[in-house]
């Protein structure tokens, strides 16, 4: 998927062509997965047409707050990110690894074969997929499940023209524009009587898809208008994470009093880890048939906030909420860098939105920094 930078690689899609794009991908054998409204939130699920997209809706987010409301226009992607991330399709919440018979025959769960097209992948989410690629494919051992699910994924990215209240992707360098790794990217231009998408191909497959659905070349004016929307988007961020020297700062302040203060609010509910697009921890369960002739090994998402996560004989290593929050925050923002060469946080803000008590990772990191400076000043 080489980067194509030629101006002639910008295409124009009318709103109806989004449906054409979805149909074309389905025609190529892809299961198309995109944003839909379920139970008052925008989540990701299989779709058959653009009519299923959350047209005209926006999400209002805050710490521990999420509401959908009407935008007053017909925008297709006029919202940011909800509780789901693409992780659930690449690294399923619960998956059977294999079956073992009493005689010892082991049968792998064959996960190959599903081609998936993701519609509406934001910059932060594209970065999250790239993080998971490093974690699950880039080491000595490759995760067989992720590797099978990731094999044939077509990515239609969407550049965010309006960041959400909890978004801080700009400060961690993952948005609001989607970086490398997409097949097609879309910038939606809506309002003042116009509605179109400026599309860009990020791969040969993306280019031929755009050609095949009959997208015409975008004019210079259309490309400039899309660029102006992105320029404006960059001025709308309300949150940021100061990543400068953050790893060393956190390593130096493992006993920061901030952790004890967070622990007084943190419920250890694990929501932040479940909505996080990069959290990859799992546990395994053994399931046996009633007759005992067959045993299955299932893997499911786990969380470092669960009490038994760190259990060894005698008790959990991290029995306090303080230590579990510290584990999570330092993993995201510091130890991840030593482990995988990138930060584990992509700035999507989900952990802030879905925390029942509204703990804000950007605020806590800033407070640890502030307290650390105060201590070293005295």
């Amino acid at each position: 998927m080489g980067e194509i930078r030629d101006q002639s690689d910008y295409y124009l899609l009318d709103p109806q062509l989004i449906d054409g794009l979805i149909s074309a991908l389905r025609g190529l054998g892809y299961s198309v997965i995109g944003p839909v409204v379920r139970e008052g939130a925008i989540v990701y699920d299989e779709i058959e047409s653009a009519a299923q997209l959350p047209v005209g809706l926006r999400d209002r987010q805050g710490p521990g707050h999420y509401r959908l409301e009407e935008r007053g226009d017909k925008a297709f992607f006029g919202f940011v990110v909800g509780p789901h991330s693409w992780k659930r399709f690449l690294y399923p919440p619960r998956v059977k690894l294999f079956t073992v018979s009493r005689k010892g025959e082991v049968t792998a769960n064959n996960l190959l074969g599903r081609k998936m097209a993701f519609i509406g992948v934001r910059g932060c989410e594209l970065a999250a997929i790239s993080v998971l690629d490093k974690v699950l494919l880039g080491g000595t051992y490759v995760d067989p499940v992720y590797s099978a699910m990731r094999r044939d994924v077509f990515i239609v990215a969407v550049n965010c023209t309006e960041p959400g209240e909890n978004c801080f992707c700009q400060s961690v360098g993952t948005g609001p524009e989607a970086g490398a790794g997409y097949d097609v990217s879309l910038t939606e231009v809506v309002g003042d009587g116009v509605h179109y998408f400026v599309a860009r191909a990020g791969s040969d497959a993306g280019k031929s898809l755009l050609e095949n659905i009959g997208a015409r070349r975008a004019t210079d004016e259309e490309v400039s208008e899309a660029a102006a929307r992105m320029e404006r988007s960059r001025t709308l961020f309300r949150k940021s994470l100061d990543v400068n020297g953050l790893k060393d700062l956190l390593y130096k302040n493992l006993e920061s009093p901030v952790y004890a203060e967070v622990a007084e609010r943190c419920l250890a509910c694990a929501n932040c880890t479940l909505v996080c697009p990069t959290c990859f921890c799992t546990t395994v369960e053994e399931a046996t048939s009633l007759s005992g002739d067959v045993a299955e090994r299932w893997r499911r998402w786990d969380s470092c906030f669960n009490a038994d996560f760190s259990y060894i004989h005698g008790g959990p290593i991290r029995s306090s909420r303080l230590s579990r929050y510290r584990q999570w925050l330092t993993h995201k923002l510091a130890t991840w860098i030593d482990q995988f060469g990138v930060m584990g946080c992509v700035g999507c803000g989900r952990c802030i939105t879905w925390c029942p008590v509204g703990i804000d990772i950007t605020e806590e990191a800033a407070r640890i920094r502030q307290r650390g400076l105060e201590v070293s000043a005295t």
Partner: protein, 284 residues
């Protein structure tokens, strides 16, 4: 059990189970057994002292267990298991001739090559002697490659001492100084009484030509490390074997994190200099 390649269809390689036959089972203490496992089809039993395997009891589950040795005929691996939960109870009660699953060996073991030409002090606490045993066997087998050799071992009571036959044979060697202590003696106990760190009274280490390998409960390792530092050993010469919850053994499940490390693939053996910011810190 026929040769099965779990990964054949979908490449499930790191989770692929190899079957082993239980060919021996020795009771070490009232709740601890050493089981001997002969791989049914694998090429060999090669491992590095300090590494571990994931052992699987059919339908019950899988746990990480240190490799505590190999039989002298090279046909079977030994694992010393304390029955404390459903899986370890299933492993310790597996009948001779039955099968257990095995994945491994995993992790980084003791730096035995690096310590050649040097003195070595091994300090074990309780079942922490298990991953040290193959290192002790290796050093004794290649005794001319090492300088002075000390083994310090502590257990709660005489009944809790592992490998009693090994202890006798190591004690009989003139080229190995074995010191054993128990927290509480009984009427027959004639040896040292006290925690393992009290044995440092009886050894004088050369700080710049000694390697120390330590394994036991974290609190025991913390105080042992202090004793080694008191004798002047630099952090780079002190090695500890860490214990954390493990599910996958290959750095994917996230459970065994210890600071920036995955104990399963970066450890379990670490030099103190690598982990100094995290070792001895509570709840990391």
């Amino acid at each position: 059990m026929a040769e099965q390649s779990l990964g054949a269809a979908a490449g499930l390689e790191p989770f692929k189970i190899d079957w082993c036959q239980v060919v021996g089972r020795a009771k070490e203490t009232p709740d601890t057994y050493t089981i001997r496992l002969r791989p049914l089809w694998r090429g060999g039993i090669a491992f590095n002292p300090g590494q571990f395997n994931m052992l699987y009891a059919y339908g019950v589950g899988e746990v990480p267990i240190s490799i505590s040795g190999a039989t002298s005929d090279g046909q079977a691996l030994e694992h010393t298991v304390r029955a404390v939960g459903p899986v370890t109870r299933a492993l310790t009660s597996a009948r001779i001739g039955s099968s257990l699953g095995l994945r491994g060996p995993f992790g980084r073991g003791w730096p035995l090559r690096e310590a050649e030409g040097q003195d070595v002090v091994i300090v074990g606490g309780g079942i922490g002697l298990a991953p040290l045993r193959p290192a002790i066997q290796y050093i004794i087998k290649n005794r001319e490659r090492y300088g002075r050799f000390y083994v310090l071992y502590g257990a709660r009571t005489p009944a809790d001492l592992l490998y009693k036959r090994d202890l006798q044979s190591w004690r009989a060697r003139l080229d190995t100084q074995l010191l054993v202590t128990v927290d509480r003696g009984d009427e027959k106990w004639r040896g040292y009484i006290g925690v393992v760190t009290t044995l440092f009274r009886y050894v004088r280490l050369e700080p710049n030509s000694t390697y120390a390998y330590v394994c036991g409960p974290e609190i025991m390792m913390k105080f042992t490390v202090q004793e080694l530092k008191n004798q002047g050993l630099p952090d780079e010469r002190i090695f500890v074997s860490m214990e954390r919850n493990m599910k996958c053994g290959v750095g994917i499940c996230g459970h065994c994190q210890f600071g920036p490390f995955f104990v399963c693939k970066d450890g379990p053996v670490f030099s103190l200099s690598e982990v100094s910011n995290f070792f001895g810190r509570r709840e990391v």
